[in-house]
């Protein structure tokens, strides 16, 4: 944790930032969870709630930005403190994006009716579980500052990408089977993409935390497992 400064108000300000980040993180986790639940159970009320909740995250990000700028201007932070503050700005931006992606999933609930095959939703749910576990672990690392656990986070990103590629393929199959599936399946495809992006933002946050704590950038060999750019189904002619 942070060392103690002569001016205790400075400590308070830094603590405020991390506390606000945690609150935003908790809110984003809840939003994504509820958005996916709304999608799977076709719960329009819950979807509306998620859409309205997004305001809280926007507000949180603006507040953190303002506070961080004020701290930089007033305290002239150095080293760890400066990284902490800049990191807070970046993490809050990532969390705000996670909220937006959750909101977008919730918005699509209205367009996906509940008559889709059960296993499609199961796939989306499993993908969301992976992404949420990722987000939870990253935010836990932010709380405990135990960066040695960050390696796991990147590994899981691989799993998310593999799962997303598999879902992509499956959705294409359903669309080819019956053109009436195209509308709902396209929406589900975007939902899956959004959830996959949430995992990417979690990885971003992990990298920022690593930078805050160690002062070094994480090695750049970020694994890339999203192979949907190459998915072509038999029978479909790839565009040349």
């Amino acid at each position: 944790m942070q060392s103690v400064h002569t001016v205790s108000a400075y400590d308070e300000e830094l603590k405020f930032l991390s506390k606000r980040i945690a609150a935003m993180g908790g809110h984003a986790e809840r939003m994504v969870e509820q958005a996916v639940a709304a999608l799977v159970n076709v719960d329009h009320g819950l979807a509306q709630k998620v859409i309205q909740d997004d305001v809280v995250l926007d507000e949180g990000q603006r507040e953190i930005d303002d506070k961080a700028i004020v701290i930089i201007a007033r305290r002239q932070p150095m080293a760890t403190d400066l990284r902490e503050i800049v990191g807070a700005i970046r993490i809050s931006a990532d969390i705000e994006r996670v909220g937006d992606l959750g909101k977008n999933v919730a918005k699509r609930v209205a367009s996906v009716d509940g008559r889709q095959p059960n296993r499609l939703f199961r796939g989306i749910e499993a993908l969301a579980n992976l992404a949420l576990t990722q987000l939870k672990e990253v935010l836990d690392v932010y709380a405990s500052r135990s960066v040695e656990r960050i390696g796991f986070v990147r590994d899981r990103d691989d799993q998310i990408d593999a799962m997303y590629t598999s879902l992509f393929r499956e959705l294409l199959t359903y669309m080819m089977e019956d053109p009436r599936n195209i509308t709902p399946c396209t929406h589900l495809l975007f939902c899956a993409k959004n959830i996959e992006r949430i995992g990417d933002h979690a990885t971003n946050i992990a990298e920022t935390i690593y930078y805050i704590v160690t002062g070094d950038q994480m090695p750049a060999d970020r694994p890339k497992g999203d192979k949907t750019d190459k998915v072509v189904l038999p029978g479909a002619v790839p565009a040349k």
Partner: protein, 421 residues
Amino acid sequence: MAETGAEQDSKGQALAARLWRNRWLLGAGLVAVLVAYSFAGASTLVLLLALALLVSAAMLPADAERQSADAAAAIEASGLQRLSGEYLAAAVADPLIILDHSATIVHANAAAFAAFGGLAPGMSLSLKFRAPEMQALLDGILSGQVAADAVDYTEKLPVERTYRVSASTVGHATGLYVLVFKDQSETRRIDRMRADFIANASHELRTPLASIAGFIETLRGPARNDPAARDQFLQIMQNQTGRMARLIDDLLSLSRLEMKPYLRPGTEVDLRQTIDSVIDSLGPLAAENGIVIERDFIDGSVSVPGDRDELFQVFENLLENACKYGQSGGRVTVSMARVEDGQDPGIDVTIRDYGPGIAEEHIPRITERFYRVDVENSRTHKGTGLGLSIVKHILTRHNARLSIKSEVGKGAAFTVHLPAR
């Protein structure tokens, strides 16, 4: 100030108690003085003087025996005061966390460490419990708006747990607060299980049921007098009922596991012996499929914390799959290795077949319920679509991981990583 007031109060109480204890003696003295007064005719002043003497004598500190009783009571009271909060917290079976006014953890008991990994004194609680309702609870208590409050808090991942969390201030002006978590996951899970079970069972049982109903109809109609067809149909119906029975067994064992997914088993399991008995029990199936099971174990005894029956089921399901779906390879290798390096030392058990392998796009999803790579192939091998789902559940309970490596045409390797601690 308050303390001196309390001291005076307690002195007054002690005095009253002494008077009460000496009530009989006082009474007797009073009677004696009255008798003396009536007979001797002494002055009223003397009488009053004698009474005052009596009362003040009774007020004097009691004799040695009483004094020791008072002392014992005092020691007892101070013992309660000296009782360390740490001991008290350790004696509470539910997770309990003591925090200060800035939501920093002062102390967490063993149950809290077991329930929420990654707690440490000095860590901020509002960073750890980020759910909006927990933030509201902490804010409410720490700002002093309410002295005590409670909310329901649900953790979804890695396994679902629901707590009734009550927060309250400790004592007067100690600046400390306490959070107590009451686990309510069980009731919540039983409700969910019922709904899930019905949904899954009705969906999966419908297919064999429809086929049986169709054959019964045919047997009563067109095939009424056709003994050859009747035999054939009865055979199919028997297969279908067998499938339904297996499905119900698997669903039940999955539901049982889901009811207690976070129970951390406290016993040690001899892995070598467990895997050996799995291989023995699947010997007939392997022979039937023309499979040779090869072993490649490390030396020495290998034990991991866990539940033997559950781990038996894990390896049974994996090996059974390898024998069924890797039939074309003719052999299955079971290997056990110790992993020392890395952040997560433990034992790796790999079950490798040399069959057709699994296409890449299916690998991330084959542990989902009822996910089948090839529906027809699964049905002919009497699969229920739940085997790997059960494996995954058991491994989550054991804090273990399942990793799957496979390439089409080159077989598949299922590796179970069991942590040493």
